[in-house]
Each structure stands twice: as structure tokens, then as C-alpha cells.
């Protein structure tokens, strides 16, 4: 990135539009951290594009002084794929919600991830449809009472991270709207990764689903419920009092009362080629287990936008830049005097 240019401040990434989320919405924090992360990464407003679908979260691009597209519901990954394939020079962020990405947009999410297009996808997971005023979403728990489920939802929720991993994701992470430091760090990691980076951000909708993530926030419980991932480190939580080890293929919690050696614990490895570990981590859920925060997976794979452009480049090398005359007169022709 052009570091010779003046260093930018978060304010340089703020557009002139009034932010119109509900007072207290978790989206404000995510917006603030994004504005802080971009200058550190060295992003330039003119080389950055935010593409979103529809939803409260998808209003995001309007508030960034970059290029942006507030597209249609669930399709942001498709717009981003077209743009990145033809403009690999741009940094593209896809902003989406749990309904936008997993309900109407689930298929595009699967495919952009399997193609490993070099994008950063940030999914604001508030487990509710905010913009349409409170219907349950694909991440809402069974039994959830909402406007459209007055006696409780009967759909089993999806784990965004499991889905991403099964879609052959090369980078998968999770963060929390109010954990500024962690969120900024995670956004930076996503930008550093080449290929599709998928981040789930736990976000509070204080109007239609207030407190969804309190167990990850309340002083009393968060230590117990949060598993902070560190590459190469053992899986330890609850202030170092508990750890996770393997029992066959399945994880189990152990008290770190000294009876167990750290080496017997499961160690985190973002880089391991098999998705086995990342998938296992994506299944960890409160109350049985703490929920992982941080980078679950970060590996290198061929990148769609690189490959599609390489194919063009080598075609030009092989057959030379296209000539219309050659094209038109290929095959049988005849001349009329």
C-alpha cells in the first residue's frame, strides 16, 4: 500500500452522511473499529470498496468515505466477485447480516467462499432481522419468540462458521461488537489474508433482540464462556482455570488444577490444512463449551481473482493479444469480387 501518502486518521474514512442506526446499536462500535483499523492497515479511501446487501448492517457503506455499494438483499458476494475479478487492485469489504448472508444470501456465501475470491466478509450477527423490525433469523435459537414466531421458532439455527468451513473457507474468524481491541485486530488479520476472509461479529440489536450476547459480555460470565484463540497455544479459558483436550474426535473440558499437563491439551493451529480442527472449534457452544473468539483458520489456497486474470494473461502470451481481423477470418472464408 502506498505508504508515501500522508498517514490517514479514522476521521478520513467517515462520510458526510448522518448515521441512522438506533441509539445503542452494536453497529456503531463495529463502524468505529473499522474506521480505526483501515488507517493502520494502510488502506486508502479511493482504493477501498464496501459492498453490502440489505439490512441495518448493510447501511454501513453509506457511512464510509470510500467507494461503496448498498446492493440488494443477500447478493453482495456476487457483486464483489464481479468487481474483484475485474479490479483485483481494489480492497473490497463485504458487509452483511445474519439474514442477508445466511437466509436469502446463503448460496452466494457458499460460492464466494469456495472460489476463495480475495474479499473480506464481515457478517453482523444479531440473530434477528433488524431492518424489518424483528423476525427470527437463521441464527436464532430454537424456541425464539419473534414477530413471525409468536410461539417460538422451530428451525434449527445454522452456525455461520461451520457453514463457511464446509464451503472450503481459507480464513474464518469471530469477534464481538464491543471488544474494540479484538475487533480491530481481527479486521486487520482479515485484510492481511489473501483469499476470502470470513468474520462473524456478534452484534447486539438493542431494539429487537437486546442482550443476545450478554453472556459473552457480562463480567460475571464472559471469562467462563469465551475461548480466546491463539495460534500455537493450548485451548485455555476461564482465566486459565480450564482447558480443552481431545477425547477421541471430540473435545472435552478439563479443570487445570495441576493434575493435567498443558501438553495434554489441544493446541490451536490456524494453519493446519485439514479443516478438522476449525470445524470442531466452530461447533463449540455455550452452555456445554466456551465459544471461540479470534481466528479459527487461516490457510493459503489459489485465489479466484488471481487465477481468472492469470488465464487471461497466459492466453495473451500463448496466442498473442486478440486481433479482430484474425478472429473474423478464422475458418473458411470466400471472397465476392
Amino acid at each position: 500500500m502506498s505508504t508515501d501518502l500522508p498517514v490517514l486518521k479514522p476521521a478520513d474514512f467517515a462520510s458526510d452522511q448522518d448515521v441512522r442506526w438506533c441509539p445503542g446499536c452494536g453497529d456503531y462500535s463495529i463502524l468505529a473499529q473499522m474506521k480505526k483499523a483501515l488507517p493502520d492497515i494502510g488502506s486508502r479511501p479511493e482504493n477501498t470498496v464496501f459492498i453490502s446487501g440489505i439490512g441495518c448492517s448493510s447501511r454501513f457503506p453509506y457511512y464510509m468515505n470510500t467507494y461503496g455499494m448498498h446492493s440488494i438483499h443477500g447478493r453482495a458476494p456476487a457483486f464483489a466477485t464481479g468487481l474483484k475479478s475485474t479490479r483485483p487492485d481494489l480492497d473490497i469489504w463485504v458487509i452483511t447480516g445474519d439474514g442477508d448472508a445466511l437466509s436469502i444470501g446463503g448460496n452466494h456465501l457458499l460460492h464466494v467462499i469456495r472460489r476463495n475470491v480475495d474479499l473480506n466478509i464481515v457478517l453482523f450477527n444479531n440473530s434477528i432481522y433488524g431492518l424489518t423490525k424483528g423476525q427470527y433469523s437463521p441464527t436464532s435459537a430454537v424456541g425464539k419468540v419473534t414477530k413471525s414466531t409468536p410461539v417460538g421458532s422451530i428451525d434449527r439455527p445454522l452456525s455461520p462458521l461451520s457453514v463457511a468451513i464446509a464451503a472450503e473457507a481459507t480464513f474464518v474468524a469471530r469477534s464481538l461488537d464491543v471488544n474494540a481491541k479484538h475487533l480491530i485486530a481481527t479486521l486487520k488479520r482479515a485484510q492481511e489474508h489473501r483469499g476470502t476472509s470470513f468474520i462473524e461479529v456478534y452484534q447486539n440489536c438493542n431494539v429487537f433482540n437486546d442482550g443476545q450476547w450478554d453472556y459473552m459480555k457480562d463480567k460475571a460470565t464472559k471469562e467462563e464462556h469465551t475461548l480466546m484463540l491463539e495460534h500455537g497455544k493450548p485451548l485455555i479459558f476461564a482465566g486459565g482455570t480450564k482447558g480443552i483436550r481431545l477425547n477421541g474426535l471430540n473435545p472435552e473440558i478439563v479443570e487445570l488444577d495441576g493434575s493435567i499437563a498443558q501438553d495434554d491439551l489441544l493446541f490451536h493451529d490456524e494453519k493446519c490444512d485439514s479443516p478438522q480442527l476449525a470445524f470442531m472449534l466452530s461447533r463449540l457452544r455455550v452452555p456445554e463449551f466456551p465459544e471461540p473468539m479470534g481466528v479459527l483458520r487461516d490457510i493459503d489456497r489459489p485465489i479466484y481473482n488471481v487465477e481468472i486474470n492469470d488465464q487471461v494473461a497466459s492466453a495473451k502470451e500463448k496466442s498473442g493479444a486478440g486481433s479482430l481481423d484474425k478472429l473474423f477470418s478464422s475458418g473458411d472464408t470466400w471472397t465476392v469480387a
Binding site: 452522511q17 467507494y67 461503496g68 464481479g82 475485474t86 460460492h111 473474423f328 471472397t335
Partner: protein, 621 residues
């Protein structure tokens, strides 16, 4: 091998005719399409004007010998200008009973019927669901039936190569080809070249096919079955170098050319669907032109990826057919409110729903004109022939960039798969397409992404340009700033602005031309019916009728003079392969009491059908 000496010119008398229509029909596996293509090329090379119409079965390979499995290829070659593959057949070549019963009705009385008599056994008849052998019944009365034991003769002919009978039987179509080539005195050289190239890695196959071809030729020359051959002289086409071209191929090449003329790289976002897939296939072959093809997960992703590429400054295109275009409505609406240039191409097929995938129909004029929520006008241009697909693509992109709007191109299965001679354009003389993008700025001045030029076009500011950062989206935008706006006056203003923009395209597409007399009956057509309508009007004029033809290239907007033009005539007839979609649009636009001539059978118009329609109509009123 392959020197003409092996194919002595005929000693038999030869009758010269102005044109011939031949149909080759057999099992999907019998290679009729290949035979047809060869006959087309060699006829074109002979200087004839040619027009073709392949008719595929709906199934990939329906069970051998069944009626569902019949694959046909019709070609007309003539010494005068022609616009259609012909109506009644002068000759019909059938490889099995199913092919005979499904095609015989199109053979002219007294026409030549060549049948591979080896494939009319009981099993073959049963597969074709026939009680008795039609070659033995009166159904063939009135035709010049010539039974040829093609299978046996071919096996004989290829013996020297020692290929298996299975392979030998695959050469049948080359035997038929040899016979047909002899019958119409066609040059076999190009086909020999083709064989050599295609089977270069299988010399014995090449040899076998060549022998079969020769056997067919000799059969015509030596047997008594054929009294004479037919000669079709070269047509008087405008001077230049020609090639044969299919509609989807011309469309793809037109897109590539438009990209070159505008200095853009081409991006295609598409999802396979009949009969549009070949555009994707063709474009994916030309990466050295900077073409990027993206096979999306569905049609929605396809159109959205195109919009993304357009936002980035590429020449973006999405292609599909009816069911797929139906899925793109929401995305097209976004593209329209974003006011970005890109092309949506609909190769129409029989509808509704999945309908008749392999059959042609002018099915989607209504959907492409009105199939979006809210007030969503877009320019729409329709290709009129295989070759015309080329200019259509260029013209569409010229308008899209000049007005900063998506443009819809309509083609159909008939012209997409049909072919005709195409005069290779002089690339140098093609008019470049000016596209400009605003320069970057660092003076902090406000950039107005929805400011407008004289064509109401907004600036195409590309990501990566310093100082022009802006956000676009599907919510109503304030004119000028492009900010989200719920202001009532602004909404009405924007709705009208978007409509005016499309209306203004009329200033740049020239006036509607008319062919024929300037009073009496006016035939108004659009799209793939051009050939049948032009030929029909021509014929009526020849008969001294007071009739004219106006073929629309742009259907949205209409040419400025169309309204006056319609009023000038006593009667207006609108032939369409639908229930009257253009008809209704003409009526509400000009309150003209026009009448429709409609056919919804998955097939193109026959010239006679249009001629009869014109006569009835002119008589009636």
C-alpha cells in the same frame, strides 16, 4: 487423398435452379448437424446465399430411433439474396423411419425423398411407433422416393480401412453427404480439409469417412436412381470477404468487438441455459482479448457480478433465456437505479415456465419491457438475423455507455442457432465507442455522482480514483448528490428523469426505415421474424400489392418517426411469434388500430404464412 480427381465432375445432365431447400434428418447420433454444416459451408463457398435452421431434439440423446430423438438440419442455398432457410423442402434426406414420419409433411409435392432403406427394419419401425413401413405405403405417393442401402454401401466402401462395423456405421452421414454433394454439384474440397483436420489423430477414421463420402458421390453418378444433378449459381452478394456465421457466435464476436472499440475488457457473468449457453462457451475461448467469463452459481449472481464489474469500469454483460431472465428482474432494477452501463441478453425460447427450451418464440418482449418492480424503463434492442447479432451487440454497448444505462438485447433460438453468410467487416472502419471517466481530484471539492450531461448520463467514476469516493445503492437517490432521499418531489423527478433518459435514446438510433410502397398495408415486425417478413413483403410487392415493411431494431424506445409512419398507412399488420406483445405496445403508444398475425408453435414463420396473412388482412379491410 482428398484431390478432386477422385470426385470426377458428373457426366449426367444438370438442371440449373435459382435455389434449393434441403433438410437432413436422422437420429441425434447420425451426425446430421455435421452434415448440414458441411453442406452449408461448401454452398457458401460456392458463392450461394445460404440460410440454415437446425432443429435439435429436446433430449441430449433420446433413445435411438425414436421420434423424440430425431435431429434435423435445414439449409436453403440460392443464387439470389435470401433471408430464411426456406419453407417447403425440395429434398429431404432421412436416415430412419422416425425421421421420415416427423419431416415428410414439409417436403414439397414431387420433391426428392432419399431414405436409408437399411434402417427401415421391423425394430426401426417399432422404435418409431409405426405399424407398417412407410416406404411401402401410400404416404410417400407424390414424392420422388429414392431408397439407398446406405449402411450396407458404407460398410462396403470403408472395408479397405478395416475399421469395425460400429465405426463403419458412423460414416453413414459422410456417404449421405457425398450423395447430396453430387446431387447439387458441390465442391468436396472443404469437407476433405475438414475431415483431415478433425481426425488428424485418427487417420483410419479420416480415411473411412473420405471413402464413404466418395462412395456416396459415386453412387449418385453411377446408379440409375438419379437422372440429373442440380446447379445453383453464385448469388450476387456485395463484394467483400465472407464467412458463414451463427447467431450466438456473431453475438459473442460483436461483444468482443464492442469491448475493443471502447477500450474496455469484457466481463461476462452467466449461468448456462439453452439456447444462450453457446455465447458463454464462445466468449470463454477468447481470453486473449481480455475476456473474463464467470460461470455464476445462478442467474441472480450472474447479473449481480456483471453490475459489480460495471461499477469497476469493465464492459459487463449477462446472458440467459426466459426462466433465467425472470430471475434477474430485481438485479436489473438495481442496475437501472444505479445508472451503470451493462448489457442483459435474452436469447428467447418457448415459454411460459421451462416451456419449450429448444424451440424458438418471441416470448419475452413483455417481460423485458415491464418485468421489474416500480417504474423501470430500459432501452431494448432486438437482433433480426444471425449476422445482425454482431452489430446489435455493438449498438447496444454504444447506447449503454452514452446514456449510462443497462441495455437489454433480445435474440431468439432461431437466429441464435441459425447461420448465414456474413460479410467480414473492415475492422479499421468500425466507429470507436467513446467512453470517458472523470479524473481524480485532491482539492476536496464535492463530487456529484448523479450530476448529468446533455444525455442525462451521470459520470462513470471508477473506484481507485482519488477524491471521487461515492456510494451507490437501491434506495431512491437524490439527483446530483446520489444520497439516499425520501423527498417526494425528488422521487417524482427521478422517476421522470430515468424515463426521459430512455426516451432520449430515440435521438440517437435514427429514423425508422420502410421497405416497399408508401401506402396500403404496413407490416411491422421486430427480431427474428425479419427474414420471413421481408421475403413475404417482397413477394407481395412482386405480385403488385400495395404493401411495405418496417422492421424495428430498437423496441424501446421506438424511432421518433414511427408514430407518423404508422398513420401514413391504411392498415398495419404485426406478425409475431407470440400472442401480440409488440402489437399491444404499439397500440398503447400510438393508439393505432393494428392487427396481429400470430404463431406460437415453437417454430419460425414460414414465408407463405406471412404472405397469406398479408393477403387475408389486406383483403379483409
Amino acid at each position: 487423398m482428398g484431390s478432386l480427381t477422385q470426385f470426377p465432375p458428373t457426366q449426367k445432365p444438370s438442371e440449373s435452379v435459382s435455389g434449393v431447400t434441403v433438410r437432413l434428418a436422422g437420429d441425434s447420433g447420425d451426425g446430421m448437424q455435421l452434415l448440414g454444416t458441411q453442406l452449408t459451408n461448401t454452398s457458401a463457398l460456392a458463392g450461394n446465399d445460404v440460410a440454415t435452421f437446425p432443429d435439435f431434439p429436446a433430449e441430449i440423446r433420446a433413445p435411438r430411433g425414436t421420434r423424440a430423438g430425431v435431429s434435423g438440419f435445414q439449409v436453403q442455398f440460392a443464387s439470389e439474396e435470401i433471408f430464411t432457410p426456406g419453407d417447403g423442402l425440395d429434398a429431404l434426406i432421412v436416415m430412419n423411419p422416425a425421421a421420415l414420419v416427423t419431416n415428410l409433411s414439409d417436403l414439397k409435392r414431387g420433391g426428392i425423398l432419399i431414405a436409408n432403406s437399411d434402417s427401415f427394419g421391423d425394430k426401426d419401425l417399432k422404435l418409431a411407433k409405426l405399424e407398417e413401413n412407410p416406404l411401402e405405403t401410400d404416404v410417400i405417393d407424390g414424392y420422388r422416393l429414392i431408397k439407398v442401402s446406405m449402411t450396407t454401401l458404407t460398410r462396403e466402401a470403408v472395408k479397405p480401412t478395416g475399421v469395425s462395423t460400429k465405426l463403419a456405421d458412423r460414416c453413414k452421414n459422410f456417404f449421405a453427404m457425398g450423395l447430396v454433394f453430387w446431387l447439387y454439384g458441390r465442391d468436396v474440397e472443404p469437407t476433405l480439409r475438414f475431415i483431415e483436420a478433425k481426425f488428424s489423430r485418427k487417420p483410419e477414421i479420416a480415411e473411412a469417412n473420405t471413402l464413404a463420402l466418395k462412395a456416396g458421390w459415386n453412387y449418385g453418378e453411377t446408379t440409375e436412381d438419379f437422372a440429373s444433378t442440380y446447379q445453383v449459381a453464385a448469388a450476387e452478394l456485395p463484394s467483400g470477404t465472407y464467412r458463414n456465421i451463427m447467431g450466438n457466435q456473431a453475438l459473442a464476436w460483436g461483444l468482443i468487438t464492442a469491448a475493443e472499440l471502447s477500450g474496455k475488457d469484457l466481463f461476462l457473468g452467466s449461468y448456462p441455459i439453452t439456447p444462450a449457453s453457446d455465447v458463454l462457451h464462445e466468449l470463454s475461448k477468447h481470453k486473449n482479448f481480455g475476456v473474463r467469463t464467470f460461470q455464476a452459481e445462478d442467474e441472480i449472481a450472474a447479473v449481480c457480478s456483471a453490475i459489480g464489474a460495471a461499477f469497476g469500469g469493465s464492459m459487463a454483460v449477462t446472458t440467459s433465456s426466459g426462466p433465467g431472465i425472470a430471475l434477474k428482474g430485481e438485479g436489473m432494477g438495481l442496475g437501472l437505479i444505479l445508472e451503470l452501463p451493462f448489457l442483459i441478453i435474452d436469447i428467447q425460447r418457448g415459454g411460459p415456465s421451462t416451456g419449450l427450451p429448444t424451440k424458438t418464440e418471441q416470448s419475452d418482449l413483455f417481460m423485458t419491457m415491464f418485468g421489474r418492480n416500480g417504474e423501470s424503463p430500459l432501452p431494448i434492442i432486438a437482433a433480426s438475423s444471425p449476422g445482425n447479432c454482431f452489430e446489435t451487440a455493438i449498438e447496444a454497448w454504444r447506447i449503454a455507455t452514452k446514456f449510462m444505462t443497462p441495455v437489454i438485447i433480445l435474440s431468439d433460438g432461431y437466429i441464435a442457432n441459425g447461420s448465414e453468410p456474413w460479410k467480414i467487416p473492415d475492422v479499421g472502419s468500425l466507429q470507436p465507442i467513446e467512453v470517458t471517466h472523470p479524473e481524480g481530484q485532491d482539492n476536496g471539492a464535492e463530487f456529484l455522482p448523479y450530476s448529468r450531461d446533455e444525455n442525462l448520463a451521470r459520470p462513470w467514476a471508477l473506484p481507485g480514483t482519488p477524491g471521487l469516493m461515492h456510494r451507490v445503492g437501491g434506495l431512491e437517490k437524490q439527483d446530483g448528490t446520489g444520497n439516499v432521499s425520501y423527498d417526494p418531489e425528488n422521487h417524482q423527478h427521478m422517476v421522470h428523469t430515468r424515463a426521459r433518459k430512455v426516451a432520449m435514446v430515440a435521438e440517437h438510433i435514427g429514423d425508422q426505415e420502410v421497405f416497399g410502397s408508401d401506402s396500403g398495408t404496413l407490416v411491422v415486425s421486430w427480431g427474428g421474424t425479419y427474414g420471413a417478413c421481408r421475403t413475404a413483403v417482397n413477394r407481395c410487392l412482386g405480385e403488385g400489392m400495395d404493401v411495405a415493411h418496417a422492421h424495428l431494431h430498437w423496441v424501446s424506445p421506438f424511432p421518433r418517426n414511427l408514430g407518423d409512419l404508422l398513420k401514413r398507412y391504411d392498415r398495419v399488420l404485426v406478425p409475431e411469434l407470440n400472442t401480440g406483445q409488440l402489437l399491444r405496445i404499439l397500440k398503447h403508444t400510438y393508439l393505432v388500430d393494428a392487427q396481429g398475425l400470430n404463431k406460437i408453435k415453437g417454430k419460425p414463420f414460414k414465408v407463405n404464412e406471412v404472405v397469406d396473412g398479408i393477403k387475408e388482412f389486406s383483403a379483409a379491410t
